[in-house]
Structure formats: C-alpha cells, structure tokens
C-alpha cells in the first residue's frame, strides 16, 4: 500500500518534470527557429525579389511569393539590356574577378606552403621572430598601406589592372597562408624529415615527396580562405581599380548606386546573388574547411 503510494507520487514528480522538460524543449526549438528565420530572411527576400517584376514589387510586400519564374532580371544583371552606353552588367566583372582570384590564390598558397615548410622543418636561429614578423601582417588595418600602395602600383604601371590586384592580394595573403601552413606542419613529426635527410633527400624532394602528399586538408582550408577573402574584397578593388578592370564587388556596388531614372530592385537583387553565389557554393560544399579557416585566420587586416 505504502509502496504503491510512494511510486505514484514519484510518478507524478516524474510526470511533472517531463512536462517542464517538454516545455523547455519546445522553447529551445522556438528560439532556434526564430533566429534561423532572422538569418534566412534576407536571402529569401533577395531570391523572391529577383524573380518579381517591378510591378509586382510595388504591389506586393517583401515576403510575397513571385507570380512565376521570371528570370528577366537575372538576364539583365548578367548580360545587360543590349544597348550601348550606361548599360552596366556583371558578366565582364565576374570574369575580372576570376582572372584575379585564380593566380592570387595560387601564388599566395604556394608561397605560404614554402614559408610554413621552412619555418617548421628547416628551423634556423631566430625563425620565431621571422614568423612573428610575417604574422603581424595579418593584423594591420589596410588603410595604413593604401596610399603608398596606390603610388607603387602607379610607378609599376599596373594601377587599374587585374595584374595589380593579383599582386596586392598575393602579398597581403602571405601572412595568412604562412600562418595556416606553419600551424599544420608543426604537428607533422620532424623525424620523418630527418630520416629523409639522412637518406640524402634534398630540400625540394622532401617537400614534394613527404610534406605535399599529406597537405591536402590544409591546402583546401587555405584555398577556400583565400578565395573567399579575395572574391569578397571591396577595399582594394575599389581603391586600385575602376571602370573596366574592376572586380565584381566593385561593379555590384556601382550598379546598385547608379542613379539611373528608375531603381530596379529586382535587378539589384539578382546582381547581389550573382556576386555572392561562388562563395556560397564553396561554403555549402566545404563548410567544414570553411569554418576551420575562419576560426584560425579570422583576424584579417
């Protein structure tokens, strides 16, 4: 009798805590979903707006669903309307960005791999200071180098050109790529390298035969980081280039700001998505590596 009483009150208690638990669970999911909608909201608005006609935009609200798959604003954003002057569209600038990103990512990653390799496997006196010397480049606000950089590019005759931007992005990428590779190679056992040296392998042979084959993860992290940074850069692009040599972010900004008669928000939104889609794809496909780069290189000048 007493036993069953005890167990029933215990069950009551259990039941009660189950209810509070369930309530807490619901609350948890409610908050998480609330924030998820805050984060997804702008992307949703961008996509639906890009698919509407201007008429629909004026009549509906931000959230209203488009009447159909109206891809015209995408075509205009990418390829223009086909009349001459004042017709700005993203296609040529998209290619500018590609031409800028590919060599800049390649050179900065290669140089970073080499310096990271030397700093960890061919250590010399004072190498820590050299690392610190390079690392400092991660932190400077780029405003402090804009003026002399503009002059230098002028002297070299590559201001307002894709080549100039490749140089700028390569140089200011080196501190980050060095940081990534150095931190990765430092965990590779030095005995491997020592053994290879005793066997008579040289500097480059050791790098290409031993280090490079195990470097895939850090190469992916570095390439993604550099690609995202350079693709999304606006400060260098807008300072050192204009007109035809501009990269896509600069062109997007010019397109949105241009005060031609009627503001076409659908074209603006399509343009913004086009400018953002390469990095978004990389993020969705390789999120793990993207986040790893973020957490180790986020303090970017």
């Amino acid at each position: 009798m007493q036993d069953s009483l005890k167990s029933s009150s215990y069950q009551q208690l259990e039941q009660k805590s189950k209810y509070t638990n369930m309530f807490l669970r619901w609350f948890l999911y409610f908050i998480l979903i609330l924030f998820a909608s805050y984060f997804i909201f702008p992307l949703y608005v961008m996509v639906v707006t890009s698919l509407k006609t201007m008429e629909e935009i004026r009549q509906g609200t931000l959230l209203s669903w488009p009447s159909g798959l109206n891809l015209e604003s995408w075509a205009v954003a990418w390829g223009g309307r086909g009349y001459g002057a004042g017709d700005t569209f993203l296609r040529p600038y998209f290619w500018n960005s590609i031409k800028m990103v590919v060599p800049a990512v390649f050179f900065s990653t290669f140089i970073g791999a080499m310096t990271g390799y030397v700093l960890t496997k061919w250590r010399f006196k004072g190498d820590q200071w050299v690392f610190l010397f390079l690392l400092f480049g991660c932190f400077i606000p780029f405003q402090a180098i804009l003026l002399p950089m503009a002059r230098t590019l002028g002297v070299l005759g590559i201001s307002n050109s894709v080549i100039g931007l490749v140089l700028v992005h390569t140089v200011y990428g080196i501190p980050f790529t060095t940081l990534f590779f150095r931190n990765y190679y430092i965990s590779v056992p030095t005995e491997l390298v020592k053994a290879a040296r005793i066997d008579g392998a040289g500097f480059f042979k050791i790098f290409f035969k031993i280090l490079l084959p195990i470097s895939a993860p850090i190469i992916v992290v570095t390439v993604i980081w550099q690609f995202t940074q350079i693709w999304n850069d606006f400060l260098f692009g807008s300072t050192f280039s204009f007109g035809e040599a501009a990269p896509i972010q600069v062109a997007l900004n010019n397109m949105v700001l241009s005060s031609t008669s009627v503001k076409e928000y659908n074209v603006d939104m399509a343009s913004a998505i086009i400018a953002g889609i390469p990095t978004l794809i990389v993020y969705v496909l390789a999120g793990k590596y993207f986040i790893r780069g973020l957490t180790s290189g986020a303090v970017k000048g």
Binding site: M46, L62, Y117, F133, I174, L280, L294, V299
Partner: protein, 291 residues
C-alpha cells in the same frame, strides 16, 4: 658556391615572403607614418611639418562623428554578436535535431561579402518598399521604420546588418569551445544536483574565457576596419551621420586629396588596432610557449 647555395636554400626560399612583407607592410606603414607628419595635399611632400595633421584631424567635426559612430557601433556590435552567439551555441549544444542544418543557416552570412549584405539590407530597410511597407500592408497603418534615412538612427541599421553577418561566427567559436570541455565535468556537476542553468552559468561559461577574449579581439578588429558595409548600406549618410574612420580615411585621401590628413587618420586606426592586437598576440604567444 653550390655548397653555399645548398646550405642556405631554406633561407633563400624564405626571402621572397620576408622581402615582400618587409616592403609592402612595414615599409608602407612607415611611409604612411612619415607622411602623416608632413603637409602633403594631392602629392606627398617630404619636409616635416610636425603634428599639424593630427591637430587638424581631432579638430574636424567629421572625424569626431566618425569616432563617435565607431564607439557606438563597436559597443552594440560586440554585445549583440556575443549574446546571440552564446545563446545559439548553448541551445545547439542540447542534442538538437537538425543541428547541422541550423548551424549552416546561422553561419552562411560569413560567406557573403559586405557589399552583398549591404545591398540586401538596404533593400529590406528602405522605407518605401521594404519592411515599413510590409507592416503597413498588413494593416499596421502607422508603422514606421525609416532608420535608414534618419540621421539619428541610421548608424543602428549598420549594427543590424553587421550583427546579422557576424553573430554566427561567434556561435561557431563558442560551440567549438563548449564541445572541447570534458563531459565528465558536466556529469559530475549534475550528480551534485546542479541545474543545467547553473552548469552553464557557473561552470562552463567561466571556462570559456579564452573564447570570449578571441571573439572580443576579432569583433573589435572587424568594427575598426568596417568600410564595405557602410559604403553599400549608407555611403556614410544621410549627410555624414554614419561616417566611420575607415570611410573618412579613403574619402579624405581619394576624393578630397588631403594625403597628409588621411595618413594621420590611417595611423590613428593603426594605433587603435595595435592597442587591441598586441596584448592578444602577447597572451597567445605565452600560451603557446607554456605548452
């Protein structure tokens, strides 16, 4: 000769990186520092002029507005990013369904450029067709949300967009931090009768001190340099009400051709960043050496 080359090969391989950084980082910063002490206008002049540019800078109303805005923005940006980041991280840590999907959603803005972010938010916040119209169409006739064109409030729109872009990143940092804590600690506390709230408030969050520190440094660093977002969202307007130091620097240099003055503003930014970064680097190095 060949032996020498072989022996010094590592250093030779290092040389380009060291040379490039030496020239393009250290050399350029020193050049900017020097120019900030001259009376350079369109073209740089090299005779020294003392602290004149700095006096001019701190007497300029626009610069004072820029610094003011920077302080407001940094404070709010920090608080909101950290609070939202921690809440999301703790909630996601409760064995949630679809955690991967939610994480992806919270963090995707980090993959976008500030120009894309600014363009999107400018459209959302514009009073004629954006949120304001949405609420009015839903029947809230008097609903007003015109911060974007309001001198007093425009700076807060930059906070909204900035937090949207960076809060997920703080979430990722804290989630990684929470996951690295031994399960045993939490279990032991629960056996002692601590509630979940106490476990987080009294045990886990205090253990996250390095993560707080890292987030602080990164967010302050982002906010001192914020440039793209302002260009895309407000161009410093209405008027000059949302000017920030980075925008002031480029405008003074490339539109007003006041090279000396803009160099002085760049050096002020440099010093602000150094004040945050040097203690950070120092503590990181000490931690690494202690290991």
């Amino acid at each position: 000769m060949f032996r020498w080359l072989e022996k010094n090969l590592p250093k030779i391989v290092m040389a380009p990186a060291v040379g490039l950084i030496g020239w393009f980082v250290y050399g350029f910063v020193l050049w900017t520092l020097y120019i900030s002490f001259t009376n350079s206008k369109i073209l740089p002049k090299y005779e020294l002029w003392g602290f004149g540019q700095y006096e001019k800078l701190w007497a300029s109303r626009k610069w004072l507005i820029a610094v003011d805005n920077l302080l407001i923005f940094t404070a709010l940006f920090l608080i909101f990013c950290v609070v939202i980041g921690i809440i999301l991280a703790i909630f996601l840590d409760q064995k949630i369904r679809a955690e991967g999907l939610l994480r992806t959603i919270y963090l995707y803005p980090m993959a976008l450029s500030f120009i894309v972010t600014g363009t999107a938010w400018k459209w959302i916040l514009n009073p004629t067709l954006g949120i304001q119209k949405m609420f009015r169409d839903w029947g809230f006739e008097n609903f007003t949300f015109d911060w974007l064109v309001d001198r007093e409030m425009a700076i807060y729109t930059i906070v909204i967009a900035g937090v949207w872009q960076s809060a997920g990143f703080v979430m990722a940092l804290f989630l990684a931090g929470l996951r690295s804590v031994e399960d045993e600690i939490v279990k032991a506390a629960k056996i002692d009768g601590a509630s979940l709230f106490t476990v987080y408030w009294k045990i886990l969050l205090p253990m996250m001190r390095p993560v707080f520190f890292t987030s602080f440094v990164i967010l302050v660093h982002i906010s001192i340099k914020s440039y793209d977002l302002i260009v895309a969202l407000t161009q410093g307007g209405p008027g000059i009400s949302t000017t920030m130091p980075a925008l002031y620097m480029t405008q003074t240099a490339f539109h007003k051709s006041q090279v000396g003055l803009s160099a002085a503003s760049a050096m002020m930014m440099f010093m602000a960043v150094a004040a945050v970064i040097i203690p950070y680097l120092y503590s990181e190095l000490r931690r690494e050496n202690a290991r």
